[in-house]
Amino acid sequence: MIISFLISIISGAIHSGTPLLYATLSETVGERTGIVNLGLEGIMLIGAVVGFTTTVQTGNPLLGVLAAALAGGLFNMVFGFLVITRRANQLASGLALMFCGVGLSAMIGASFIGSRIQGLNEVRIPLFSDIPIVGRMFFNYDILVYSAIPVAVLVWWLMFRTRWGLGLRAVGENPTAAFAAGKNPHRLQYQALFIAGILGGIAGAHLSLAIAKTWAEWMTAGRGFIAVALVIFSKWHPLRAIAGALLFGGAISLQLQMQARGVPVSSFLLDMLPYVLSLVVLAIWSGARRHATPGSLGRVFQGTE
């Protein structure tokens, strides 16, 4: 009984944590170049709806993921144009992007409400999936779950082990110095935002293709904003984001398990858990984050005129 409960919680945490991890990585890449993107919620919605509709029409969920990633990347270019080229306020631009994503996804998905799909199925790994307990806990997921941690490592490698990543982080710390050192801050920021959009699109696709297997308006329910809090929690580090996403996935999973088992607490109060936990975590980690914040976060490179 206890063991099966624990297995459900852990496998649920991995499942629910996956879109959060992709979303947190997305926001991390952007913020490392000095750009806060509150539009992540909108990008995820676009990813979710494009992934879903593509899957309904082609019957191939992998094509859905691909389309979602591309749509997320392109959609984020609108944000890039506003904050990089037009130097608009990042927070207001992000919220405008969120609004646009909410409306656009509702329009695209309107005629697909109620459609059912097979979605991304569990990929069983021969031998490993047959191990008793452990097999169910770690080797019974869809492809996006398996690829989540490798993607986090890839993002870490790109940002901390390549020249490109060094330039990216330099722009996030001090764009003028990076410019003086021969980097092109605006080009690097556009590249970072495109990658961030791809990751955000995948996060949305996992929600609609693997978790819900359906489309509903505003189905992200604030996960984009939770991811913004998770970036602070993970101190802008892609590998620490894995722990953060698992923690929050665990909170969502715990809440779902308690509802499924009929624990006599209102589901509405349980649903508050991830949001309240985000606030608590932000408060506890506030002392530690000062040194980790990218230096130019929220400001925009004004050129050298």
């Binding site: 509150l38 609108v78 144009f81 506003l82 037009r86 130097r87 608009a88 306020n89 927070l91 207001a92 631009s93 919220l95 405008a96 992007l97 609004f99 646009c100 909410v102 409306g103 656009l104 509702a106 329009m107 309107a110 308006e217 505003w218 329910a221 604030g222 904003f225 939770i226 913004v228 809090a229 602070i232 209102s266 509405f268 109060l269 649903d271 508050m272 949001y275 309240v276 985000s278 606030l279 932000l282 408060a283 506030s286 400001r299």
Partner: protein
């Protein structure tokens, strides 16, 4: 002669900024028309229907005014804290908590006379929204969380809290199975005017605007807020407590949104429902941003977005466009405002 010249100059500047704004608005309309075309809808018919349903009749016009009431208040909830660079995106949650508090007052103090009950639920609405906003202010002052992210997260908590009450302890046993509170007693319903749905909240919204303008331009508090807005460090060295202003402005701003919630639940719905607000708090944020926090600008932008919001209902009924579709138009307007050539831009 010099004076006359100045007047012409002033006049010209005002006209120029009005023309610029209309130009931006038309640009957003063109973009939205293109999007409608992509989805196979006829944009000209859509715009014509929106126009005739909102501004084409006295009734339509009064409904636009009805929608402006909560929007002006939620815009003030954003505009006031924005004076010292606080970004309050929590209007939605503050509105819900204000409505929650007002409902508690209306349903539990049914034997109060109307002249006492109405101010009582108004104050409760203000306190509810104000406390919700002040929590974010406190988190900010302690350095625990930026008000931007905390207000966003608390929107979800607030809406879930209202759901908890109307699905649970406050559910009206007499309403078949609908999640809603007991209906407000007659004494707790804000009176309406001229046979329309325009209610007493419009007076509160106008008083709010006037107070906002007066406090900012004519009082020491307005001066101190300007000082904080220009240079926080210098203000602090002159003995102005920034922290006190942060909590106070989040409290008053949240209170304004809470009063909006009180007005909606009392005058429009008559009982607390989860469908209380179609994003009024978020729309208020857009309005404040478009208006640059200027009182007249807030009225103009609130009018514009009321027409669009009301238009959203029309599009849903006659063109089968989801109600959320007009969010695109709102976003496009903000996009063009944000992307306009630098120079006239306020702030950083």
């Amino acid at each position: 002669m010099n004076k006359a010249f100045l007047q012409i100059g002033f006049h010209h500047q005002w006209v120029a900024s009005a023309i610029r704004f209309v130009g931006l608005f038309v640009l957003a309309l063109v973009f939205f028309a293109l999007i409608l075309l992509v989805f196979g809808k006829n944009p000209l018919r859509a715009y014509a229907d929106i126009f005739s349903a909102t501004l084409g009749s006295a009734y339509g016009f009064s409904e636009v005014a009805v929608k402006m009431i909560p929007l002006i208040l939620t815009a003030l909830a954003v505009a006031l804290p924005s004076r010292i660079w606080l970004i309050n995106v929590g209007g939605e949650g503050q509105l819900f908590i204000g409505a929650l508090f007002a409902t508690w007052g209306a349903v539990n103090f049914t034997n109060l006379p109307v002249w006492l009950l109405l101010p009582w639920i108004g104050i409760l609405g203000f306190i509810g929204g104000g406390l919700w906003g002040a929590i974010s202010g406190y988190l900010r002052v302690r350095g625990w969380a930026s008000e931007t992210i905390s207000t966003l997260l608390m929107n979800y908590v607030a809406i879930l809290l209202v759901n908890f009450f109307v699905f649970g302890p406050w559910k009206d046993p007499e309403s078949a199975n609908y999640p809603q509170s007991a209906p407000f007693p007659d004494a707790a319903i804000l009176p309406s005017f001229f046979g329309t749905r325009i209610h007493l909240g419009i007076v509160l919204a106008i008083v709010g605007l006037i107070l906002f303008h007066f406090v900012l331009s004519r009082t020491r508090w307005g001066l101190e807020m300007r000082a904080i807005g220009v240079n926080q460090e210098a203000a602090r060295r002159n003995g102005i407590s920034t922290n006190r202003y942060i909590i106070l402005l989040m409290l008053i701003g949240g209170g304004a949104a809470g009063v909006a919630g009180m007005g909606e639940v009392s005058a429009i719905h008559g009982q607390l429902r989860p469908s209380l607000s179609p994003g009024l708090g978020y729309t208020g944020f857009l309005i404040s941003w478009m208006a640059g926090g200027h009182p007249i600008g807030i009225v103009a932008a609130a009018f514009l977005l009321s027409v669009i919001t009301a238009g959203g209902d029309i599009l849903q009924m006659t063109h089968r466009i989801p109600a959320a579709g007009v969010h695109i138009l709102m976003a496009l307007i903000l996009f063009v405002v944000l992307a306009r050539p630098a120079g006239k831009k306020g702030g950083k």
